[in-house]
């Protein structure tokens, strides 16, 4: 039982980590707290479900398609809705409040649209339910593939952030915004790209999530909250921190639901969150 | 002259960086003293340590017989230390007058109501903003915002006034007015400790000055004598453009 909990936790944690990665890029670089992030994840899940059930595609193909779609949608969202706010606001505090409120609006708008179109029931499709044997634990094939892809996408992104010019610019904006402008980095462009990249990760995370579990039209909120907790635990803008924290949260959730009660997973997440905030408000991995 | 403020071996570390290193000095009641030093020498940090914005890593700060080292800023303010900030900081949602009333309302004993209004208006008058109490801070230009800060600092009749580059960015005629204003304050017996880059102002206002470099005090004494010591010339004046 311990090893199955461990594996379930790892799969969950891998997906969470991917989601948190997207959010930490959005918040760290574009400085927008996107509370509708989880709704984009659910959009990715719905998209994958439709591709599988209506168009008869393989979920992995849908995952590949979800990436550019998530990117494009978030690019548009930033340009049309969020950038005007960033330009209007006089202070970072004002932008923070405005972006929180607007993305709350988007959250409800998107949730409402999902509910009108799909209803409030559990959604999902059957894919690779056959168990695979890992270290003596039987686990559904879809879960394993989901984890593999979460790790793959996360690793690719990490490499891109470290090795490419694209990533270096973005990290410069995240860590030293005042100097990034001095060396000729176009802040607005970086912010838009970061926001769009985060959106691509969200959609991909949703596609992966749908491969191994059911979801509802309103699940986005808690995904956002979990991703946020992970981002803050890891330290805003810290990619490795987000990865590790994601896995910690995944393991804790799996552990709590097995050992105590499945109804307490969120309470456990928040308890950890509170401890982190009080103990290390800049993140577990800050120096 | 009795001692008003005493720093003894005060050190402030930020992680591995030592911003203020074993600094000791004393301000006598009624003195006007300048704190000089190149950028990054720890001047603003010293101001923040005295006002309580930052806690010192070690050492002691005594003000008027009280050990203020461990006190939070609001307690220190109540004891009679006022300050201005390097970059203007005002409460934007309050009127100019209310900005000035605030330290009166939270002084001990507090002043409120009509009396507070009167004192706030008098402070505004004194800094040259008479009749502008109903304006919003955002409607004033930068210089006038600085004046509001000064009015806010002097309104509660502090014993010690900390000015953090209050005269930076003034044009020559404004600088004249500003120097006269500060001199007028000094003449009332209030102790003034000012961080300033403008040599003209320091020479005119401060009979004594303290020079910091890389977090340590390298000179302390009568202004002209201090400014001519070789150490100071090398550390600071050699690099400054506005000597």
């Amino acid at each position: 039982m311990l090893s199955s909990t461990l594996i379930v936790g790892l799969v969950l944690g891998g997906t969470y980590a991917l989601l948190a990665l997207g959010l930490t890029i959005q918040y760290g670089v574009a400085r927008i707290m996107n509370l509708a992030y989880g709704e984009l994840v659910i959009a990715g899940a719905f998209f994958t479900m439709l591709m599988v059930t209506q168009a008869g595609l393989n979920p992995l193909v849908a995952l590949i398609l979800a990436l550019p779609l998530g990117y494009g949608f978030s690019w548009l969202l930033y340009t049309v809705v969020l950038h005007p706010l960033a330009r209007r606001s006089k202070s970072q505090g004002q932008l923070e409040v405005d972006s929180i409120l607007v993305t709350f609006g988007l959250l409800f708008l998107m949730q409402g649209l999902y509910q009108v179109n799909f209803g409030g029931n559990f959604q999902g499709y059957q894919w690779l339910q056959n168990p695979v044997n890992i270290l003596g634990t039987k686990i559904a094939g879809g879960r394993v593939i989901g984890l593999v892809f979460a790790v793959l996408i996360g690793a690719l992104l990490y490499l891109a952030m470290i090795k490419t010019r694209w990533g270096v610019n973005m990290r410069a904006v995240a860590s030293r915004p005042q100097f990034a402008a001095l060396v000729g980095i176009d802040m607005r462009k970086e912010a838009r790209m970061a926001f769009a990249t985060g959106g691509a990760l969200a959609a991909a995370g949703g596609a992966i999530l749908s491969m191994y579990q059911t979801f509802t039209a309103v699940d986005g909120t808690f995904l956002t909250m979990k991703a946020l907790v992970i981002v803050i635990m890891g330290g805003v803008g810290n990619l490795i921190g987000a990865l590790l924290s994601g896995i910690i949260i995944g393991l804790v959730e799996a552990g709590v639901s097995v050992a105590i009660d499945p109804g307490l997973t969120l309470a456990a997440t928040y308890a950890i969150f509170l401890v982190v905030l009080l103990w290390r408000p800049r993140g577990l991995f800050s120096t | 002259m009795s001692d008003l403020l005493t720093l003894r071996n005060v050190t402030k570390r930020f992680g591995g960086l030592v911003a203020v290193n074993e600094v000791s000095f004393t301000l006598g009641a009624g003195e006007v003293v300048g704190l000089l030093g190149p950028n990054g020498s720890g001047k603003s940090t010293v101001m923040n340590l005295i006002s309580g914005e930052l806690p010192a890593t070690s050492g002691s700060i005594t003000f008027d017989g009280t050990d203020i080292g461990p006190l939070p800023p609001h307690r220190i303010a109540k004891l009679g230390i006022s300050r201005t900030f390097q970059l203007v900081r005002l409460a934007e949602s309050l009127s100019v007058r209310d900005n000035v009333i605030m330290p009166l309302a939270f002084a001990s004993p507090h002043v409120w109501g009509r009396k507070a209004r009167r004192r706030a208006d008098a402070a505004l008058e004194r800094v040259g903003l008479g009749g502008q109490g109903d304006m919003a801070p955002a409607d004033l230009n930068y210089i006038d915002q600085k004046r509001v800060e000064l009015a806010r600092a002097i309104a509660p009749d502090p014993k010690l006034l900390l000015l953090d580059e209050w005269m930076a960015g003034l044009n020559p005629s404004e600088l004249r007015t500003a120097i006269e204003l500060i001199r007028g304050l000094g003449d009332t017996g209030i102790t003034i400790f000012l961080v300033e880059h403008i040599m003209e102002a320091v020479r005119e206002l401060c009979p004594r000055c303290i020079v910091a470099n890389a977090g340590s005090v390298i000179a302390d004494g009568p202004t002209e004598a201090v400014l001519s010591t070789p150490d100071v010339r090398r550390a600071y004046l050699g690099e400054a453009a506005d000597v």
Partner: protein, 312 residues
């Protein structure tokens, strides 16, 4: 304090309006009574929310955490204690929780506070659910109190008046100055002698205590109470949006936001329940883009512009 003529006129006007409002149930049927109760519940919630969040700009989503706590306290205690005593207990519980939460979170930066306050309600709900199923074995409780809807309405009307009075009083006092300065720049407030932590904590606790009482007074209306019913996040969001629409920094702002939105959402939930979320979302976006400072500020701005001529 000296009373001037305008104060006396205002007082007489206020007494007449409140008396009129108190007499309203006599003219209304049962359904109308319930509507009034709901309306004043949101007027009070939005005003109490704005009491803390308006000037400090801490966006709190903890509203339903306190509201639900109040309602649930009544559900647990209504058979053992008289209603008035239960209200006092609820008030005390609200105060204690808010002080604990405030001490832990009011040092946090804005975003962290939003997230934590949102999670708080969910955490309390999960903990109560777990406690009730595992320990007491009674998930779901009935509230039977010997009070009519009209009685409850009168209590809420009184609480609404009290809340508005507290907001007005704070606005006139040193506390009002301090809390606005804190919202603008905590460092400035601190250096002016304001004990920032204490002021924030006090306002958060007052706001939370009122919200807890609203939940407690509303509790008998539910008759049957389960954590998932009284801890619905919608309450937090509606409260927030009502206060913002009217303008959270003004005494009357939340009232002006609560009245139209309450009726709108009441109408939506009976006629277009599926579109509730969509409309809520659009209003959020609309407020930020069209009336960022609230409707009252907008109206005031229009008038002053007319008077002053061309000033923008």
């Amino acid at each position: 304090m000296k009373f001037e003529k305008k104060h006396i006129l205002f007082l007489i006007g206020a007494v007449l309006v409140v008396a009129g409002l108190a007499a309203l149930p006599l003219a209304l049927k049962d359904y109308g009574d319930g509507l009034l109760l709901g309306l004043f519940s949101y007027i009070t919630l939005a005003s109490a929310w704005a009491l803390f969040s308006g000037p400090t700009k801490y966006i709190s989503l903890a509203t339903v955490a306190f509201y639900g706590t109040g309602a649930y306290t009544v559900a647990v205690l209504n058979e053992t204690l008289p209603f008035a005593v239960v209200l006092v207990v609820a008030l005390l519980i609200g105060l204690v929780i808010s002080l604990l939460v405030g001490l832990a979170t009011l040092r946090l930066a804005g975003v962290y506070f939003v997230i934590f306050s949102f999670g708080l309600a969910e955490m309390v709900r999960q903990l109560i659910t777990w406690f009730e199923t595992r320990v007491t074995g009674t998930l779901g409780r009935y509230v039977f109190v010997d009070l009519t809807t009209t009685h409850l309405y009168w209590m809420l009307l009184g609480l609404a008046c009290l809340t508005l009075f507290i907001r007005w009083w704070i606005g006139e006092s040193r506390l009002g100055l301090a809390i606005h300065a804190i919202g603008d720049d905590e460092t400035v407030a601190r250096h002016a002698g304001v004990n920032v932590t204490l002021v924030k904590l006090a306002l958060f606790a007052i706001s939370a205590a009122i919200i807890t009482l609203v939940g407690a007074i509303q509790s008998p209306r539910y008759v049957y109470i389960e954590p998932s019913i009284v801890f619905s996040p919608t309450v937090s969001f509606l409260t927030l949006i009502m206060a913002l629409l009217g303008g959270a920094t003004r005494t009357w702002g939340p009232v002006f936001g609560a009245v139209p939105l309450f009726f709108l959402f009441e109408w939506l939930s009976t006629n277009l329940p599926d579109h509730f979320s969509i409309v809520l979302g659009l209003i959020f976006v609309g407020i930020v883009f069209i009336v960022p400072n609230g409707v009252l500020a907008l109206i005031e701005g229009l008038f002053t512009r007319k008077r002053r001529g061309t000033r923008t």
